[in-house]
């Protein structure tokens, strides 16, 4: 049984991942900004835990990805409640349509800040903490959109590309010191966030993503495309020459 802090467990893939972890008996500290949602998720996870509900070891702490000054207190609170922090999982982030981002520089700044700058700041704090105790897990959700620039998500993709680059660097630098970094690259997944989009072929389910991510955590992988098929799709996309990408306005 291990103890993890998780930012983004109230929705989508984060919710499913937290469920699979709680169901196998892990202790979790849910980080988030909406206390009512955190509490509802905590109850759900406590019932799912094989331990008796009152000792399920599911906690909450306040944390807002847009407010870096909440990061350190949140990690501190998580470590305290869990007894020992074995890792941090970040599935939260912001998302907006390209058109909206182009129309508002304020919105764009917010997205870039949350998905790149602040996520990196949070990971740096967690990294320090984990290295001090001899290692741990840093599992962060990036996106296949960061693999190759795609016209309708080029700004969002740029933030995710930066994030993946950062995570790769952590892996190169600190793996031997016991810090395992997992860069999760989901393809199109049917969640609340994508409910208004028509799913493309190979669209995945959040529960399948959660299963695969958990297996990757157990293996100690550094990177995972999920659902798996997206690894193959992105392999082809990365190999496609630029002239073709321009022509099809990829």
């Amino acid at each position: 049984m291990s103890g993890f802090a998780i930012l983004g467990a109230t929705r989508g893939m984060g919710k499913q991942l937290a469920r699979r972890m709680a169901e196998r008996g892990d202790s979790l500290c849910l980080l988030g900004r909406d206390p009512a949602r955190l509490e509802a998720t905590r109850t759900d996870l406590s019932i799912r835990s094989p331990h008796a509900e009152e000792n399920a070891g599911i906690f909450t702490a306040s944390c807002d990805l847009l407010q870096p000054d909440t990061f350190e207190p949140a990690l501190e609170s998580a470590a305290k409640q869990l007894g020992r922090l074995d890792g941090l999982i970040v599935t939260a982030g912001l998302f907006a349509d390209q058109a909206q981002l182009e129309a508002s520089s304020e919105l764009l700044e917010q997205l870039l800040t949350a998905d790149f700058v602040n996520t990196v700041l949070l990971c740096e704090l967690a990294k320090e903490r984990l290295l001090k105790q001899g290692g741990g897990l840093l599992c962060v959700f990036s996106s296949v959109a960061g693999d190759r620039a795609r016209t309708p998500v080029r700004l969002y993709g740029a933030a995710k590309a930066g994030l993946s680059h950062y995570l790769e660097g952590l892996d190169h630098a600190y793996r031997r010191e016991g810090l395992v970094t997992l860069d999760v690259k989901p393809g199109f997944v049917r969640t609340e966030m994508t409910a208004h989009l028509a799913p493309p072929p190979f669209a995945g389910e959040p529960s399948a993503v959660a299963r695969e991510v958990l297996a990757a955590i157990d293996r100690g992988s550094a990177r995972i495309y999920t659902p798996r098929i997206w690894g193959l799709i992105l392999w082809v996309i990365r190999l496609t020459p630029r002239t073709i990408m321009r022509r099809i306005r990829f």
Partner: protein
């Protein structure tokens, strides 16, 4: 490649967990990839084409989703879950301005007491998820339909029944309390002893008496997560019907599958599946295998591929396969309860035209079933995996389907519009037969029944309508089905 199929204005791929920053475009984007086929015009802004599990009919409508049913149900025309209703029960009235509330993202467990085995959960919780959490701990749903991919809200709205109806009744018998938002906008907690009339109207009420927000029900304790299963071959419908009642006296779970392609003496030959939960000693040491969709029908097959000839072959192949599986064995819940769940989106095999399922309950007499099957064959019908189950006494739901007798479910591919008899004529003729024998059809499967036939089958319809109107005087809730069958004004 893949991306080319996506709407060009939409943003993807993306991390599904990220939160939209802005007030999202207030209504869903149209789905251009689906705009082909019925109905003729393409969807207006914010609309998409919706259909049930049988992919017929298709209507234009709006959809909204999220994890707060309390907030979202205010203003929605109907709630829908995983879309396993075959016909139009889970569809909004065509061109409705108010959206269908898709509940699947509101799927939290709210309260569980292991000593009483009472669970309270949000309406969007999926049965497969519940099994995954509770079966390893020795609890199972007291009543299970033929798929695990249904929501709790859907199980209440259709008052589903299962292989154990003859001993356990329908799901509604095990519901202790519901929280619903009625059409008048109020949130109400109802149950067998609180607003019993509204409660009885809601069980099997197809979501038309209110949005189901939370469900509290009694789980069943089971000794192990495995089933002791026996399969017996039966050579004709004359053997099948009495054998089904006979085994029902000893076995809590019974079902039969019959071959609709045979004629004469072999008409209705098939296989009897009976089961009970394995005791701790009988259960293997293996871990509980879970419920998974393993294979996918990745695209629509051509309509007409499944026709009486190919379905006849399929029935024969399947019948022979059953021969090899005779006798006693240990089965996982997926093998026993949800064999079809292994193939994801199997309705695509019926093609663009889709299919309908005709499920009715008839008196448990072989002669009745023989005439019914002969009539079905004369009308050019053929069906694969035709399920026959015994029903026990009626439950308290005013529009609940089961009543004493035996139910049969036929999959009917939708015929091309020019063919005679048409699918409508086929269903009309089967309905006349069902009515003659005091039976009725199951709303969760239906897409073709006429209002007058439906009302003749459900004697408590007027009572139900009175309750429905009392809590929804302005008619805010409705569905494509209520427009067709329940006299809603357009």
């Amino acid at each position: 490649m893949t991306f080319r199929n996506a709407p060009s204005s939409a943003s993807l791929p993306s991390v599904g967990n990220d939160e939209p920053m802005e007030p999202r475009p207030s209504s869903p984007l149209p789905a251009p990839g689906r705009a082909r086929g019925r109905p003729g015009r393409s969807p207006a802004q914010g609309e998409r084409i919706l259909s049930g599990w049988g992919r017929y009919p298709r209507v234009h409508g709006r959809e909204t989703t999220g994890d707060s049913l309390l907030r979202l149900s205010d203003g929605a025309v109907l709630s829908g879950g995983l879309g396993r209703a075959y016909g139009d029960a889970g569809l909004p009235p065509p061109n409705a301005q108010r959206p269908l509330l898709r509940t699947t993202h509101a799927d939290r467990l709210l309260r569980f007491d292991p000593t009483t085995a009472v669970l309270r959960a949000e309406a969007g919780v999926c049965l497969a998820d519940l099994i995954h959490v509770f079966l390893p701990r020795g609890f199972f749903t007291p009543v299970s339909p033929g798929t695990a991919f249904v929501t709790l809200g859907g199980m209440v709205a259709a008052d589903i029944h299962g292989k154990n109806h003859h001993v356990a009744g329908s799901f509604g018998e095990h519901v202790r309390s519901l929280r619903i938002r009625t059409g008048d906008g109020k949130i109400r907690d109802i149950g067998p002893d609180r607003e019993p009339e509204l409660f009885a109207a809601t069980l099997g009420g197809m979501g038309l008496t209110g949005h189901i927000l939370e469900v509290e029900f009694q789980l069943e304790r089971v000794p192990s997560p495995w089933i002791v299963e026996e399969r017996h071959m039966v050579s004709s419908v004359e053997e099948l019907i009495p054998r089904l009642s006979e085994v029902g006296r000893e076995w809590p779970m019974t079902v039969a599958w019959l071959d609709t392609a045979q004629r004469g003496a072999a008409l209705g030959r098939g296989s009897l599946w009976i089961g009970r939960w394995a005791s701790r000693d009988e259960a293997p040491a293996r871990a509980f295998p879970g419920i998974r969709e393993r294979i996918e029908v990745p695209f629509e097959l051509p309509s007409g591929l499944l026709n009486p000839t190919t379905l006849g072959w399929a029935n024969s192949v399947w019948y022979r396969a059953q021969y090899l599986k005779q006798g006693r064995s240990l089965a996982s819940p997926q093998q026993f309860f949800y064999p079809l769940d292994a193939v994801r989106s199997w309705p695509r095999a019926y093609g663009r035209r889709g299919f309908t399922q005709y499920q009715c309950v008839l008196p448990s007499e072989p002669a009745v079933f023989r005439s019914f099957l002969e009539l079905f064959q004369r009308m050019g019908g053929c069906s694969f995996v035709t399920v026959v189950k015994d029903c026990g006494p009626e439950g308290r739901g005013m529009l609940s389907f089961p009543k004493p007798g035996t139910s049969i479910a036929l999959d009917i591919p939708i015929k091309p519009p020019s063919s005679t008899p048409s699918t409508q004529q086929l269903v009309d003729r089967l309905n006349a037969f069902t009515l003659d024998h005091g039976g009725r059809i199951y709303l969760a499967k239906d897409a073709f029944t006429r209002a007058e036939d439906f009302r003749a089958m459900y004697p408590r319809f007027d009572e139900w309508t009175r309750v429905r109107r009392k809590f929804d005087p302005e008619g805010k809730l409705g569905s494509a089905m209520s427009l067709r069958l329940m006299g809603d004004a357009r």
